[in-house]
Every structure is written in C-alpha cells, then in structure tokens.
Subunit: 247 residues, 3 copies
C-alpha cells in the first residue's frame, strides 16, 4: 500500500536520475521512503537512490516492491505542469499505480517484479581519492571530452595537488586541471581511471543540476558519484566500471 | 476583385486554422469577407471558417472563388515579421494573388478552382451536450491522451454533472474529469463518443490559442468545436467524425 | 610562433565566417594579425578575412602558415562559455595549436599545409553598383527567396533609383525593392546577376549579425559582400560567382 503526494518537479528529478541508467527497475516502497538500486543491461553502470518520506508532502506506505517502466514514467512526468502536485497511490495487492495531477488520473500498469532484474549488491571497494565539484563543471568537462574521444580519464596528481579530467583523441587532446584549493573539497591520493563517455554523457546531464557532486576515484577502479536531490531529502549514487587503458 | 490589408498575425492565425485540416481549399471572397468550408481527403474532419470585413484593416471585394495552396501560404506567412501589415490583392480575372508586406511582393499562383474539392454541406446533426473550456486545457488533454492511446473519448456524465476526456491504452489509462461548475459553460446530456487523436492533435495545437472553445457532443456522434479568431471577427467550426468504440 | 589571447565571442564569429565557405583553410599568422583567403571546393565562393592585432587582447606572432580544420574549430568554440577568454599558442615549429579557456587545455592537431588548397588570388573585377544594407535585411531576403526558388537575382534599376532582390519559381515570384534613399548607401549602375541560394543561405546566416553589409554588383558578374567583424578590427569579403540566367 502507498498513498503519497509529492511536488511534480521532485518526482521528475527522481525519474530522470534513474532513467540515465536503466529503462525499468524495482522500486522498494516502505515506511522509510523509496529505494531503488539497479544496474544497466551491460553491467557497467549502477544507480542507488533513496528518497526519504521528507521528500514528499504526505507519505504513508507499507513494505512493497513494484516493477516500474521508467520510459513510460518519463512520458508521464513530461506532461505535468511545473507547479503540479502529484499524488501517487498503490492499492493493496494492485497491479496498477494511480498517478493524479491537475485533474488528470493516470493509471499505470506495473511490471511483474519477477521479470525485472534483482537489486544488485553495492560492491565494497576502496576509492581513496575524493573530490567535490559543481555538477555543471563536471558535465561541461564530460561534454568537452566527447569532442575528441569516446573515453575520459579522471585522476588526481598528489604531487601537484590537482584533480584532472582528460581525453585523448586520435589527433587531439583536451585537459582540465583544477587545483585542490579551487575544489569544494579535496582528498588527494594516487588515482587515475578511464571511463566510457557513452555512459557519462547521460549521467552528466542529470548531475549538471546538482550543486555539489562528490567524485570518488582510485587507480584503475570504478568511479563513484554521489549527490543529493529533492532539497537534500534524496541521495543518489552512481557507480561506473572503468575501461582498460590502452597505450 | 479583392483589395485588402490585414494584420499579419491575424492572417497567420487564419492560415494555421485551415492548415490543421486541409492542404488546399476554395476561398470564397465577397463583400461579406472570407469564407472557407472544406473536408480533409479522408472525409473525417471538416472546417468552416468565416472572416468578416472587420477582421481587416481595409477591405474591398467582389464575389469571387479562388483555389489556395495552404502549404505554400504557411511558408509565406512564416517569413512575415510580427508587426507586418499584409496587403492582399486579386486582380479581376487574374490567376495570381499578390501579397505585399514589409517591402516584399509575393506573387502566388492560384489553383484552378475546378481541381479543388467543392465546399461540403454542413451536416445537420443534433449534439445535445455542450461544454465551454479553455483551448489550452483542451489541447493539454489531447496531448496527455496521446501518451497512452491513439483515440480519445469525450463524454458527459449527467448524474455526476461532469465532463470527461479519457483514453484507454493496452495497459494504461488516463482520465480528466471536470465538474460542470468548473467549466465556463455546461449543458449536460447523455453523451460519449470516441475520436482519432491523429486529427485532434493538429486541431488541438490550433485551438490551444483560443480562450474559449465550445465543444458539442452526443452519443457516438461527431464532435463540433467552435471558437473565434481575429479578436472575435472570425468564426471557426471544426467537425470531426467519431470512431467506433470496440469493447 | 604565436601567443595570443582573444575574447571567445570574437573567435567564434571568426570561425563561423570561415565555416560558411570552407571546411579547412590555411591561416596566415604574422605581426599584422590573422589572414585567410580560401575558395570552396566547387570554386564558386571565396572568402577573404583579416583580423588585426587590435582584435586580440594580447598578440605576439612571427610569420607562419598553419592548416586549420574548421569543422573541428566549430566544435571547440561551441563548448566555450560566453564570457571566456581564449588563449592561443603555437609553439615554434609545432604541429599542434594549444587553445586554453576556462581551465581547459585543448591541443588541436594542425593540418599539413601542403595538403590544404593554396590561397587563391582575389580576381580583379569591376563591380559598378554599390549598396549598403543591414545584414538582417539581406538575410531575410535570402530566406524569402528560398521559399520560391533555388536562385536569387540582385540588381539595380538606375532609372527608378532602386536596389532589388528577386526570385522566380516555377509558379511563384517574390520581389523586394528598396529605394536608394532607404539604403545606408547607394551607388546606382546598370546591374543584375543571378546567384545560387545554396551558397547564399550559409553566408546570409553569418552576415545577418553585421550591422552593415556592402554589396557590390555588376551585369552577370560575381557579387562581393563586405562587412566587418570583431568591432571593426576584422574585415571580411565574400565573393560569389554568378549563375547563368535561363530565359
């Protein structure tokens, strides 16, 4: 059972964040709010998102797991006005989610949970380097890298005390180096890993709205991006596997 | 013979209203203004439009029927600036319409009237239910319905005193119900008919600019939309045939 | 050797102006600034552009010729912010140009000058008719002509004291006639030549930003467009060969 109302903008943000990684997911509903953890079909990117009851205007829920078609959700949220309040309802044992906003009632068929990939475990990895920058700056660097290559390296140079993002194309090269003192937070450590821009472009677009993104990196290890949504009442983590660096 | 000047915005609006239904039409020019009545090639949608001499800044005309290529007209109006005054001229017995605006002279070849479909008669039908809503609200409901289906039902529930628009997809369902007291005008009657969204999407885009649209509906009958343009000096009626409801 | 800084907007404008004609070019760098002269692959359109050292915030250069990939340049400038200052550096004998802006360092591989078409000579032609109009007006006329035809005629009617642009389609015709007194400058002479709109559409988009464009025309001769960029510190000339007028 679920009965909740939420600002349409916050719901849109939540759907966008998930849509950057997967087209369908399991949504865990409980007294503690919404929780989703999902990996993309290629097992390269993972999302973990938690939305606390404080992100909602009103919230009552029992424990429940439902299968969501995220593509359909994107279409629905695209037609909500900016100021709309959205009400969500999940009848006990029902196969439909009822979304009501601005006079509209939308009844969305849920996916059979058994057909949706199980929640992955969050791998336990040590990522010693930590950097906090603005989402806009991160997204701009991703877009710039895409001009010369399909891969980007994130790294830290502990001697110089800098964080860098760089991309090497066949002929051209682009590099953005930021001094630790110009970052919102900086924990230097030997770190450099290479990532596919295919995945990062979608993530970057979503993260560009975040005031602060925490980037955790290691040496040829995954990268973890952490940022909050819903005015701090939602927590998102993206995890992206590295690519092997060819020399 | 025709010699007239008109605000470019009003002329654009007129062309858009016709272009939602047909790509060519007969334009009846007379002392009483412009009049066009046309059906689309599939005989499903009809437009009837009248533009009185008051819609023009200046207007002199003899009785005349000319064939217009509406697609071409759309291109021409798209290049007029917002503040332009458009002057229209049709020499006696000429095969060209002269459009002049902002220094430009455009000479448009007319279509041979004999090759353009004759004006249809307006069918006499009784549509007992009447509703007046804003064009924006109507267009939003059409766009929302298009997310789940290719058909939309318009109906009135006399017991509940509500007007509703709803669409049934394979899995999802969307419904907008408006209380009579929330409508600009409401004449309840047993009414429900199903329509193709293909046609309605184009009509909806045009009607979204109208402050008030009168919707007349019946039981498995056509729907009639009435609205005014040109600051009240133009009258438009769209008629759309129903689809058969499959259960 | 080159070491210069320039307002990113001015550099963008410069790249756009060249990109309207060619996809690669030789850039002549010297104490006198930047100079490029290039013809398109079909030998129909030519660009000549000079950017004086005053167009830059700082400028030091030795004589040098480098091959530029203009398409790549367009991508790079598209990712610079509006307020960025761009620094350009060309190491002595290097094969890369270093572009730095907003923390980014972009290293762009230069083209082998031997593979890029040599600078053409500016043909010495007498074009007796001269007209100065706003770039916006010129571009609007080009766009309007494209509605009815793929060619446009520029001409002067010395008897009437007017400059005109006109296009003849299979059925329609469009004409813009401007009195000499309504032009920013007017040197009447017998002149009329026909040009391909394919080329003019790209040029028109670029010229639309110029407050004044000087048009020089003759009788079945090329047209020359002259305008300035970079707040007067850059000079551009486009030359376009005429088409033969079929009657």
């Amino acid at each position: 059972m679920l009965k909740a109302t939420i600002d349409a903008e916050i719901f849109k943000e939540t759907v966008d964040v998930i849509a950057a990684i997967v087209t369908e997911c399991r949504l865990n509903v409980s007294e503690a709010g919404f929780m989703t953890r999902a990996v993309d079909t290629a097992n390269v990117a993972m999302i973990s998102i938690e939305l606390s009851p404080e992100a909602f205007s009103s919230y009552t829920a029992d424990e429940n797991v439902v299968g969501l078609d995220i593509n359909k959700m994107k279409n629905i949220v695209s037609m909500m006005g900016k100021v709309d309040v959205l009400s969500l309802e999940l009848p006990e044992g029902g196969y439909k989610m009822e979304l009501a906003f601005g006079g509209y009632k939308y009844s969305l068929a849920l996916l059979d949970v058994a057909t949706v990939r199980k929640d992955p475990n969050m791998p336990t990895i040590q990522l010693p380097g930590k950097v906090v920058i603005s989402g806009t700056e991160l997204n701009n660097a991703i877009k710039a890298a895409a001009l010369v290559s399909d891969k980007i390296a994130f790294g830290i140079n502990p001697e110089k005390g800098t964080f860098y993002m760089e991309a090497d194309g066949d002929t051209d090269h682009i590099n953005l180096e930021i001094k630790g003192s110009d970052l919102k937070s900086f924990t230097p450590a030997e770190a450099r890993s290479l990532f596919s821009l295919d995945y990062l472009k979608d993530m970057g677009r979503v993260m560009s709205r975040a005031e602060e993104v925490e980037i955790q990196i290691g040496l040829d290890h995954p990268v973890k991006f952490g940022f909050s949504i819903a005015g701090g009442n939602g927590k998102v983590e993206y995890l992206l596997a590295p690519r092997i660096e060819a020399d």
